[in-house]
Amino acid sequence: MLREHTTRILLAALAILLGAGPFLPKWAMFMLNVSLSWGTVVLGMMLLMRTGLVSFGQGLYYCLGAYAAGVLYAKLGIGDIAVMLLASATVTVAVSTVLGLLLAKYRDIFFAMLSLAFSMILFGLLVKTSELGSTDGFGLSVTSVAGVPLAEGWDRYAVFASAVVVAFGAALGMQRYLDSHTGRLAGAIRDNELRVEYMGASVRRVIHLNYVISAALAGLGGGLVGITIGHVDPEMAFWTTSGEFVFIAILSGTGNVLAPFLGATIFETVRSFAYEYSPNTWQLVLGITMLLVIMFLPGGLWSVFTRRRAA
């Protein structure tokens, strides 16, 4: 396993990104922010996929996380990054704990469909809620981080640093988790749920836990994106957003905690450039890429780096 290498790479990335941050051009910092945020969301999806579940509704928590941060600013006047992200995580953990009780009973297509349904319910709710801007959403801004007010010109770096730290923490935490006994149960459940039950472990409890973890990660990613863009809107909960997360997850593969960030960066880069040069063909590119990956690289891009064992 690349475990030791991975930890070293994570630490190196943390240092490099934080160090280079102040010197990055605006567009690069923006793209990295989004890539790291989306990578965090997909990291959660990776956990679910390792447990044998594909969620077509992560947009629910992505959007909830973003709106939680947004509401803190717009309705309560709180512009502290740390508090906003804490709210993102808290709200998504609360909702997913409840919904997870139900969803943990479903598998395969029905899990995908039900998760999709819940995200579309949120979409419908937000579109009809004028206090939150309906289809337009609303804007937000940041003024401090963990109580420290942001000096002039440092707000962008503060957001960037937050994204880097969150992504790093999530990746490292996930790696430790996957190495633990409960983390290992994910793959066992995907392979043979019956046997796991017959050996004395509760499949439902593990799925529920992993669902909540993935929701929290999606919420943090959403909060970060909302803060980065300075805007939240219901489109974040529309099923096509969830579909993009699924795409990146497939693209990345589940082999390593670094993979989702790699995949998200590639996706974000391609999308930005493709959209700028030919806005009517980037979905075409996405679709074809997805087909190629499914047919020729079932383990995702990461399987190019490792001799991934046949699934």
Binding site: H181, D191, N192, E197, M199, G200, A201, A310
Partner: protein, 256 residues
Amino acid sequence: MSLILEARRLNKSFGAVTAAADISVGVERDSVVGLIGSNGAGKTTFINMVTGYLAPTSGSIHYGDRDITGMAPREITRLGICRSFQIPQLFDNLSVRENLQVGVGIAARSARAGDHTQGEAGEIDTLIERFNLGGYRDQLAGLLPEGVRKLLDIAMAVAGHPNLLLLDEPTSGVSADEKFRLMDMVMGALKAQGVTVLFVEHDMEIVARYTHRILAFYEGRIIADGEPQAVLRDADVRRHVIGEDLHPGRAEAARG
């Protein structure tokens, strides 16, 4: 009371089909019991009820002095009843070592005190050694030969430190010359642990050789219950289970 398992008046119907009719039987600690019967006679249904996969329509099941009727498989396993499967239930994308690691890990976290002195790695190594899986340690379970899959399946059940072990057709799918070697290994590994064993078998030589007692099932009832030789010679058992008389010469050999 040295009964580790007791079934009282178990009944199980699936609509018009009676899979278990008024089954009452007690199993003593440390014994080895064989369950025989043709397909559909009720052996697997009995095991499924004991391990919690099915709830009986009526009647009760007792483990020691505890009523386990209708409990979930997970809870029953945690009490000390483990099972292996007719078709090996493994984690195909994990290696042999990783498969056992899952099993040992789960067992270590169950409330029951067991032999936890070795530490997880040590326990895994012991199981690999006892079931002769050393040569396959890092191979994916999905790519193993059938006999090895069966061994791993049983080893996973043993990883749970059971007091009562239920084996569902341990030698089915295993070639004729391998059967005895497999059973010798399994029973040898179990003897070291002091485990009560029930196993379902179709091969009468295996049953005759390794059991102290045989229960013969037919149409949901136990039609014979006793020492192997007596049961295998029973007229009803001959008629409904074995099908034809054992050749006298083979019966002699089987008594060994």
